[in-house]
Subunit: 162 residues, 3 copies
């Protein structure tokens, strides 16, 4: 019985680059549309994909946490390409070329993922380390640690680290 | 029955760096030699691994597509290391050191993969976005989208994102 | 019967960045604590995670091997962040923030992994190519090639390329 359930998919979204984020959501929404249970686990730089675009005032951050939060991109609109970013020109052109070919934007893909019940989990350990608070991240997330990821991966055969 | 077929391997070749491309083909050819069905799905920068080395004149490219095609490496000979590339010196030295130890070159590994019936698939969506045409890529490829990748991954337990 | 054994986990540790190394050991120790057999296969830049911190004199290295060895980081204390490294400031701050939140350091995680019988394998082919010798790497490792990795991956459903 246990074996028969290994049909799900999980993704660890680690890098948080624009291109890798797009790829992970295209895979996630595709897999969900095929009827798979899909869990995306956002950790380290991947958490930046989930940040709200506006600045959220958080009172109890220490200096380092504040600095990290300031230097890291806030949400899909600010993410860089993993290659050929050229100070943001590359990511701008990539979005333009995606639009020309009617490919969904990253925010649209994220919305679709939530509509398709893709489980989006923010890694609490790296949130702590990087000083990111729940109120800085978008709605509709779950919060958990690596044990939760591993439990999901247990029932999946497609397990990607992106 | 379905479970018994989860013995195949798939790889999403995303980065297209020389070292990662070599690693992916070593895994792919090793898995194929063990009797696994192996599918490599080339997307985003990974498509550059599949480009022909010579310039192919394509008439209907727009300005952006032409620029992207010009800036991205054309085939295995032009790929960079993901680290310590030093403007191409690193990749040159890596090839030299591989040769000294009789490790197959990337073009040799790619040929071996095709001989071993590794299925090499170019992602049509990212080809569209980046403006790459079939005539610019090597022979012997299949062309498909993410649904095709997911169908292959369904029957595999080794599913890597490289 | 074969199917029932697909509960293990393998990781190819390719990049050897500080953050990715930490992530891989957190996943590995978490999975081992859940009772999974875990194999970590260190290849290319991932081998640097396994290097001893002190300089080991090796007599039979050629010039290129010596140069590569010199330029690559020696062990966990010298690894860089994959992003926001800022010449080592970022990795220093990341370690500080991890300490503030009582997250284990990379050397502690590596020790824990060995206590939990995580199998740590150094890729002999890339050791050869990069000119790294067994005496330069930490104790308690196994030495093998891609076929050994694939044999382990055969019995696993969580197979990550990091």
């Amino acid at each position: 019985m246990a074996e028969e359930s290994k049909n799900n998919a999980t993704m660890i979204v680690f890098d948080g680059d624009l291109d890798k984020a797009i790829a992970s959501f295209i895979i996630a929404t595709g897999a969900a549309a095929m009827g798979k249970n899909v869990t995306m686990f956002f950790t380290f730089w991947g958490l930046n994909v989930l940040r709200k675009e506006e600045h959220i005032e958080v009172k109890d951050k220490n200096f380092l946490e504040g600095m990290f939060a300031k230097l890291m991109p806030r949400g899909p609109g600010k993410l860089k390409l993993s290659k050929m970013n050229y100070g943001g020109v590359g990511s701008h052109l990539m979005k333009k070329m995606m639009k020309e070919h009617n490919v969904s934007t990253l925010p649209e893909l994220m919305e679709l993922a939530q509509d398709l019940d893709v489980k989006m989990v923010a890694c609490t350990m790296t949130m702590d380390v990087m000083g990111l608070r729940k109120e800085e991240l978008i709605d509709g997330l779950e919060y958990a640690g690596v044990a939760s990821y591993l439990a999901e991966a247990e029932d999946a055969n497609v397990n990607l680290f992106i």
